[in-house]
């Protein structure tokens, strides 16, 4: 029960506007010490040590650095603007470019914090500068940034493979079509939205009196350097030169190289980028630290057993079970992070699903799609916090909260389609 009270109190406390990370961490301490005594906190150093040794998360500072260097040298702006121009006078060009860049990042890694923050740094200022609606910009970035969890390689899928005992390769293959459908729907949504409300995502103004062909040539020239960078990052992963984490470092060094090539490099630039990287990284990891304290108190005060009991009382018939299971995961996703859900909830659901004769691969992809949504759901969706951390003061939490709503809707739509028509996605139930 203490865990549940703690959730409610956290929800209220967050509204005071004290930093999220320390609201989580401090409340975990107050409730934990009250329920279990000080010594509960003897577990904290071990938990922090696990984060310190989790080298996959090292991609976060590295991608942030790449994003910041690209932003400071205006190379990112050029990339997005030229991609926007290639889409012609179409409204929504920048948003579509953002989704495509997000999809490319998703295919190279699966670390949401890294993608959202990098995209927030690169494309949010450009979209705002071109008169895009704040909410639409934020929603697009958060949604594109979380794509990495369903588009392989993906950490959720690797963890689910471990928990459900399914080969990672099978999961990766099964996730390709659902991921592609999701990207397609995002793009389709932008197209339809900009047809209906062109003011939300105005087309980019033509520069000078360039003819269309001159414009295209200029765009193609501007697009080459940043595209080369993306090629370095993706290429190094796909050829096995580097792991996804390491590729982020190649990207960062590559961005510095571009700065040199474009005569923008200075040690001051590098140092300031490093300082900004530290600040943003600290923001992301403080949330992780606060969250690990929070989940520690939650589970050591018996919260995990309460959840388990509740789940074991779910209905035992196929569709009823599935609908309930998906709802439970979706709702829990509002509050606790995907690793917790994968390790606490999924093992309880798995034997039931197996007993009902469900295709476990399909079941796993349903869960993955559902968990991805949890990054976007207010008030605790991590993607929302991460974007808030790098956005200018003019962007308010509420802009981000309302901006992601349509994208959450699209994700749920894909989830429902996958649920009812698994055949469309190359799977059976």
């Amino acid at each position: 029960m203490i865990g549940i009270v703690m959730f409610v109190v956290a929800l209220l406390m967050l509204m005071f506007g004290f930093p999220v990370a320390f609201t989580f961490g401090g409340l975990a301490l107050l409730f934990g010490v009250f329920a279990e005594g000080m010594d509960l906190f003897a577990f904290m150093p071990f938990r922090i040590m696990s984060i310190m040794q989790n080298t996959v998360l090292m991609a976060i500072p590295l991608f942030i650095f790449m994003g910041i260097v690209l932003q400071k040298t205006k190379l990112a702006e050029q990339l997005l603007e030229s991609m926007g121009r290639l889409f012609g006078g179409l409204p929504g060009g920048l948003a579509m470019s953002t989704i495509i860049v997000g999809a490319l990042l998703a295919a190279s890694t699966g670390v949401v914090g890294a993608s959202v923050v990098a995209m927030g740094l690169i494309s949010l200022p450009v979209m705002l500068a071109h008169g895009y609606d704040k909410k639409l910009s934020c929603g697009t970035i958060c949604a594109s940034g979380t794509l990495g969890q369903i588009v392989p390689p993906s950490i959720i899928l690797i963890i689910l493979g471990d928990v459900l005992g399914l080969p990672v390769g099978d999961l990766f293959r099964a996730a390709v079509i659902p991921g592609a459908v999701l990207i397609g729907l995002y793009l389709g949504y932008i197209i339809i939205l900009t047809l209906l409300k062109p003011n939300m995502a105005p087309p980019m103004k033509r520069i000078n009196d360039d003819t269309r062909s001159q414009e295209i040539v200029k765009a193609l020239i501007a697009i080459i350097p940043p595209l080369a960078l993306i090629a370095i990052v993706l290429g190094s992963i796909f050829t096995g030169i580097a792991t996804p984490t390491e590729s982020a470092a190649l990207g960062g060094v590559g961005a510095l190289g571009l700065a040199v090539a474009y005569r923008q490099f200075s040690f001051k630039l590098m140092w300031q980028s490093a300082q900004d990287t530290v600040k943003v990284t600290a923001m992301v990891f403080a949330i992780l630290l606060g969250a690990t304290a929070f989940s520690m108190t939650f589970s050591y005060t018996g919260g995990d057993y309460i959840l388990e009991e509740f789940l074991l009382s779910l209905p035992g018939e196929k569709w009823g079970f599935l609908i309930f299971a998906m709802l439970v995961i979706l709702i829990l996703g509002f509050f606790i992070d995907f690793v917790e859900i994968s390790f606490i909830i999924v093992p309880i659901l798995a034997p039931v699903a197996e007993a009902l004769g469900l295709n476990m691969l399909w079941f796993a992809i349903l869960i993955a799609m559902n968990l991805q949504t949890s990054f976007l759901t207010p008030p605790f969706g991590f993607a929302l916090f991460y974007l808030k951390g790098v956005s200018p003061p003019a962007v308010r939490t509420t802009d981000i909260y309302t901006g992601v709503m349509p994208f959450i809707g699209l994700q749920i739509l894909v989830l429902v389609m996958l649920f009812i028509f698994p055949g469309w996605f190359g799977m059976s139930s």
Partner: protein, 181 residues
């Protein structure tokens, strides 16, 4: 009040120092990872020690970055109401939050992080992998050390709040960065 200003400036300097060290660790880290990829791919050479150095540096980046970000207001807030409040209200929230949330949290991390480090030192703990780094207590000691700086940054929130409340200073200056900008 002069001592509050003096103390606040001192605390700020400590937090900025953390940021400086973390930034230096980051620059080393990015070239460390870059070098490791190069060495493995081009020279077919791998050093587990150099690989472990990566996470040592990465840990320093975020552990020392957190107190720095606290001073520069880099941590995310839910601003649904916060933005509309007066500086005085903000000051009270920050002061109370620092005293009941940040400082006790840091204290427990210092306390348990210290025994965590001492144990590692007493065992002479090192890496169990071939060519790995020795002296694991050094990186473990970063935990209580960074928690100590987190406490000083928390105290800095209090002195800052006092400056706002008593001296009428405002949060909109460079002390409040509102994200990255």
């Amino acid at each position: 009040m002069r001592w509050v200003i003096a103390l606040d400036n001192l605390l700020a300097r400590i937090s900025y120092l953390c940021g400086w060290v973390a930034s230096a660790a980051f620059v080393l880290m990015i070239f460390n990872v870059f070098y490791n990829v190069l060495a493995r791919y081009v020279f077919s050479e791998v050093s587990i020690g150099m690989q472990e150095m990566e996470w040592h540096l990465y840990a320093a980046v975020f552990l020392l970055g957190i107190p720095y970000a606290l001073r520069t207001d880099g941590h995310v807030r839910v601003d649904v109401f916060y933005d509309r409040w007066t500086d005085a209200t903000k000051a009270w929230i920050n002061m109370i939050g620092a005293i009941i949330l940040v400082i006790p949290f840091s204290y427990l991390l210092i306390h348990y992080g210290y025994s965590f480090t001492v144990e590692s030192y007493a065992l002479g703990e090192g890496s169990g992998d071939p060519g790995g780094l020795a002296y694991r207590w050094i990186i473990k000691s970063l935990l209580p050390v960074s928690a100590f700086f987190l406490a000083t940054s928390g105290l800095g929130m209090v002195t800052q709040a006092i400056r706002v409340l008593k001296l009428g200073e405002s949060y909109t200056s460079d002390k409040s960065a509102g994200g990255l900008a």
